[in-house]
């Protein structure tokens, strides 16, 4: 792989890492590991940990994919590897 390609792949992996970190934090973090602690806080009638497990993570997942698609498009164009 030429230098340019390597830089592209590095930028891609960097984006993936950031997005997967959020993915992990909302579901496994807020929804499972820290659910008990977060349940002390309420969001309307929802205990917060319960909300993350039953609602919140899903909303964040949707947002994450669209953010990823948009940022990847930018990276593609920056390195001039986008589809014609």
């Amino acid at each position: 792989m030429d230098k340019y390609g390597e830089a592209y792949w590095k930028a891609t992996l960097g984006l993936l890492t950031k997005i997967l970190a959020v993915w992990f934090l909302v579901s496994f973090g807020a929804g499972i590991l820290f659910a008990d602690i977060l349940n002390g806080i309420h969001l309307g009638g929802y205990p917060l940990g319960f909300w993350f497990a039953h609602q919140g993570s899903i909303y964040v997942f949707v947002a994450l994919i669209f953010i990823y698609a948009k940022k990847m498009g930018e990276i593609d164009r920056k390195f001039d590897v986008h589809e014609e």
């Binding site: 792989m1 390609g5 592209y8 792949w9 891609t12 993936l16 997005i19 997967l20 993915w23 579901s27 496994f28 929804g31 499972i32 590991l33 659910a35 008990d36 349940n39 969001l43 309307g44 009638g45 929802y46 205990p47 319960f50 909300w51 497990a53 039953h54 609602q55 993570s57 899903i58 909303y59 997942f61 949707v62 994450l64 994919i65 669209f66 990823y68 698609a69 990847m72 498009g73 593609d76 590897v81 986008h82 589809e83 014609e84």
Partner: protein, 581 residues
């Protein structure tokens, strides 16, 4: 119709020119199988907070799919998963092993599917669950063989619309009724209509009074099990061939990324409604059999439990299917519904003082969604709508799964391995036969299902997670992964997962062949249940693959170049079906 599809390529990928939004909707329809549509909210209803593992697991997987697999597989441009594995690992053996993994996962999924189909048909034809499965097998067979895949993407958009209405309309009614808020996602977090007590608080109080675990905090097993279970479903989602195949039908790499997002939007509509359906159904069920739930009176009062003779019609209808059972243990003619093996001593003492002799009502979790509008006494057209949804769900996923099975057998196995010169007609015929056989096998095993529909489906996800996902992911993200590593990894992951699952559920899910003693009792591996074991299997797969890879030859130069090529979007072409090893 498939017989009329111009080529195998049209048959498998519907022409390859479907936009991301439409493709997302079709993916969502494929995804909402009978098992998920019918069974999931019922399990959440039973499990409470712990049921969140289904919600997070079956949506979070789309993030993995969008980031790690879909765009690269689309760039690769072949239309089956075994083809990718065979080409990337320059080995027919790797492709064949992938076919075996795919068949095991898909077939297990179809078993869960048939369980759900049986529930739906038994209720609406007023027959036993067993007869319901036979009828379902017949209809799925006709649908799969006559329906075919060409143009099915658009059929599935229609199915999605039916599904989502069928799921949300009753939820809106019930949410409105209980909380005054028509949006179920908000209603679940709202106060009970006319009070300042939240629905979840009230539900928590009622279930704990009756000896059940608190609704908003009870987990399925340990936190570790919930963690691993969720992970297993996520990885499995990204590794299930019938889901992955959907991303071959989009026109470009960019569209593959967006398509995963749109699929999740349409799936999220249903998945964020499901927890409201589950919790509200639980509340309505409890307040139906125990009048003190609504009034706030003493749940253990002599006249609080309803008389069996005065039970609502829906209970009588479901009793016919054998999925709802009443047994008058204390002979007072009333239905006592509580947790009789509770750890809550206070609840048990109250029950004993009231002369209760054990729980008398047994409600199969799989009937909750279908019975939900009846429990809430909603109008008949809503009940009919849910029925239509259940049936649409059954048919749409059956189609997707059977396609994955038939393409694996006819395209990857028969054409790819045994008879490369087979005609297109012969290939299609082999596919049809494969479909028919898998329907019969799944129906037979569905008569004695290994668990609730959603639980059985979870096993399928575990199998996909432990076998296919690691091989595909390493194929993209590790240039140096070679065929020896990938093959050993897939076999190890699949092997250990099946070993653990079969120990609990019987060899090939045949009742009576369980071998729990051999592995030291139930859930011997850190208390992890067989449904959750897929993530452990996947880890095992990765480790074995890397170790074997270390001691064997690097992949050839052209394969490493192929991986580099797959990583960049430019130069994406239409998919094709040729095998090149």
């Amino acid at each position: 119709m498939w017989a009329r599809a111009g080529s195998t390529s049209e048959f498998y990928v519907a022409g390859g020119g479907v936009g991301p939004r439409i493709n997302g909707m079709a993916t969502a329809a494929d995804w909402m199988s009978a098992a998920l549509f019918i069974s999931m909210a019922g399990l959440i209803s039973n499990m409470g907070y712990g049921g969140g593992l289904f919600l997070m697991g079956w949506t979070g997987g789309y993030v993995l799919l969008a980031l790690l697999l879909a765009p690269y597989l689309r760039k690769f441009g072949k239309f089956t998963v075994p083809q990718f594995i065979g080409d990337r690992y320059y080995s027919q053996t790797a492709s064949t092993v992938a076919v075996i993994c795919l068949l095991t996962a898909s077939l297990t999924y179809v078993i869960g599917q048939m369980t759900g189909v049986g529930v739906a048909f038994s209720r609406f034809l007023g027959v036993s669950n067993e007869t319901g499965i036979y009828v379902g097998m017949g209809i799925v067979f006709m649908y799969a063989v006559l329906g075919g895949m060409k143009g099915i993407t658009y059929t599935q958009v229609a199915q999605y619309v039916v599904l989502i209405f069928a799921y949300t309309v009753p939820a809106i009614f019930i949410s409105m009724h209980l909380t005054g808020n028509p949006i179920p996602q908000l209603g679940l977090g709202a106060n009970m209509a006319g009070t300042d007590v939240s629905l979840l608080q009230k539900l928590d109080q009622v279930v704990t009074d009756l000896g059940f675990g608190q609704y908003t905090t009870t987990t399925a097993g340990s936190t570790l099990n919930m963690f691993v279970y969720t992970l297993s479903l996520m990885i499995g989602t990204a590794g299930l061939p019938h889901v992955i195949m959907r991303f071959f039908t989009v026109p470009s790499v960019a569209a593959a990324r967006a398509s995963a997002g749109w699929a999740l939007v349409f799936i999220a509509l249903l998945y964020t409604t499901a927890p409201a359906v589950g919790a509200m159904a639980k509340f309505n069920l409890l307040s139906t059999v125990n009048t003190a739930v609504a009034t706030g009176g003493d749940l253990y009062a002599a006249d609080a439990s309803i008389k069996y003779e005065e039970r609502p019609d829906w209970m009588a209808r479901w009793e016919k299917t054998g999925l709802l059972k009443f047994e008058d243990k204390n002979g007072d003619g009333r239905i006592q519904y509580y947790k009789d093996d509770s750890k809550n001593e206070e609840a048990l003492a109250k029950a004993e003082a009231a002369g209760w002799k054990g729980n008398e009502l047994n409600v199969n979790a799989d009937i909750i969604v279908l019975a939900n509008p009846e429990i809430a006494l909603l109008p008949n057209w809503v009940i009919a709508l849910v029925a239509a949804g259940g049936l649409a769900a059954a048919l749409s996923t059956a189609a997707g799964l059977l396609l994955a099975i038939s393409s694996a057998i006819s395209h990857d196995l028969v054409k790819g391995v045994f008879n490369p010169n087979i005609s297109e007609k012969g290939e299609l015929m082999a596919g049809k036969i494969a479909m028919a056989v898998s329907i019969v096998v799944a129906g037979y095993l569905g008569l004695n299902p290994p668990g609730f529909a959603a639980g059985t489906v979870a096993l399928a996800f575990g199998i996909a997670a432990s076998s296919l996902f690691p091989a595909i992911m390493m194929g993209i993200f590790s240039k140096k992964m070679n065929k020896e590593g990938a093959i050993a990894g897939m076999l190890a992951g699949l092997g250990i997962t099946l070993f653990y699952v079969f120990a609990h559920k019987g060899i090939f899910f045949i009742k009576g062949t369980e071998y729990l003693d051999l592995i030291g009792g139930k859930n011997p591996f850190f208390g992890i249940t067989p449904e959750a074991f897929g993530a452990v299997g996947a880890l095992f797969n990765f480790i074995v693959a890397f170790v074997v890879d270390k001691f064997t030859k690097e992949p050839p130069e052209h394969i490493q170049a192929l991986v580099e090529n797959v990583r960049v979007p430019r130069g994406s072409k239409a998919v094709d079906g040729s095998h090149a090893h």
